[in-house]
Subunit: 300 residues, 2 copies
């Protein structure tokens, strides 16, 4: 883990005075938008790529893990192939390509990402390592480097970041509460947490938070989350977009998935966080200019 | 200065790998977008407000110094009035008001900011301190706290930031070169530097970089710049907008004035910086959503 810690950028902690005043809630932000490749995913990707014994890495990703793995592979002189949904954000596809990786677009209503990954794994002739963007011990280990630095309200898709942060905190003896922030349109984590077992979405949810368009939590992650996660908060699509605008005003360019924690704080239906000073994890900043332009010029 | 250093936020240094690769120029960015009130101006404003013996502070500003002084005044329980051009950015006017300051809008084609400031200074009955946004010893002293941290290619309007950075560097014995970055549409610093004396713009230039819409360099600043500045680079309006887009891709929300250094690096007509690794100062992030949305969705 030493080499991972040396290579990742420390998170950027911000104390947005005007935003705290406006929302009448004292908040702290931990931004991973300045992490290599613009999201926290580089922590996991570099850790996993470094640990892999193979020279060709294959993954499925809506974009951020793909770009992170592509960059990590380029640093380590490995080959990289990324299966991405056809509807992926253009900047995310471009980012993966810019680091020299091969992009395989799939129409997810015809074939799932996982199936296409399996097809490719069979087709490729070199020795290949199939890496999950969120459900892999090295992914959790990589993400735990963020938990070592700080903690609290965390965007959730497959659960790799929240599980990683929990592991990082617990390894340091911290009992700090970790809450997950999820789009209401893709609330499988909330339902899984309530049911006590992994519940899947029937198809990839169409939420604007593309990092949370996963079908379900990872198994490894769910084991950790079931024991240690304090709860799951959900946010509507309108709240997610409002959160992007608030972060814009606070100078932070965040992608919709990155704004999930603030979105859930705005909603805060359940009041679970009441009285606490939440540390919001802003997990990434990669977003198409057209999408971002539309969101920031829209009205609340 | 101890209390100023305690209160300002340290600058955020970023090393944008993808951007360096794309521009084929190795760059470093020092971002002041996360400074209190979203720009470097807080350094100067807090220093000047702290040093002032008066309880009412009056200034003219296109916005960032106004917001910074308003916030500084609120921290120090002082009254604050800000004269702003009628065409000021809406978010900048709102920011000044949000910190409890009084805004006086002027139509700069009818009466100059300086004249209106003088009128108000005569009208107000309490003891008042008229502070220049860029030409004041305490403004330079405040800005020098940034020079102590880092150095290099700096946006220039009235010259308060570049002079301050130079003072900060020289005070620490650093001979690091400092270059100024200016809109071609408002190139009075370039002309002043060439002429060896202060040359003014005939009216406030209409550049999109509203922080550089000053009529001329400050006298105090020019004395310092004439001796110590390595040169002035200029950028077209198109280059400034392209720089905003590049910084957007590098996750940094910068206002047009904040993107000046990168804009001049993109142009780099003169080649003066060739072979050096420029540290670009991104001075602020305050920009209207509509203006920002238009810039980032436009094509190069």
């Amino acid at each position: 883990m030493w080499r991972v810690r040396q290579t990742v950028r420390a998170t950027t902690v911000l104390e947005p005075v005007a935003l705290s005043k406006q929302l009448q809630k004292p908040i702290l932000i931990a931004s991973e938008t300045f992490q290599h490749t613009g999201s926290f995913k580089f922590r996991a990707a570099y850790c996993a790529a470094l640990a892999s014994k193979f020279d060709h890495l294959l993954t499925a990703s809506s974009g951020n893990f793909g770009a992170a793995l592509a960059y990590a592979a380029s640093l380590l002189n490995k080959r990289c192939t990324v299966v991405m949904p056809h509807a992926s954000s253009a900047v995310k596809i471009a980012a993966v390509k810019s680091f020299g990786a091969q992009v395989e677009l799939v129409e997810t209503n015809k074939i799932s990402r996982a199936e296409r990954v399996q097809q490719l794994a069979n087709e490729f002739e070199d020795r290949i390592d199939v890496l999950s963007a969120y459900d892999h011990p090295m992914v959790i280990a990589g993400n735990s480097t963020l938990g070592e630095e700080i903690a609290a309200l965390v965007p959730i898709g497959g659960g790799g970041l929240s599980a990683g942060i929990i592991m990082g905190l617990r390894a340091k003896g911290s009992k700090l509460e970790v809450w997950a922030a999820e789009p209401a349109m893709a609330d499988d984590a909330w339902r899984s947490f309530a049911a006590g077992e992994i519940v899947s979405n029937s198809s990839e949810p169409g939420t604007i938070a593309d990092g949370a368009r996963t079908l379900s939590l990872g198994k490894l992650n769910f084991e950790i989350l079931q024991k240690e996660l304090s709860g799951v908060l959900v946010a509507s699509e309108a709240e997610i977009e409002a959160a992007v605008r608030h972060l814009f005003s606070a100078q932070l360019k965040a992608e919709p998935t990155g704004a999930l924690a603030l979105a859930c704080l705005i909603g805060a239906r359940n009041g679970q966080l009441k009285g606490r000073r939440p540390l919001l994890i802003v997990s990434g900043g990669n977003v198409d200019p057209a999408v971002y332009g539309r969101i920031i010029t829209a009205q609340d």
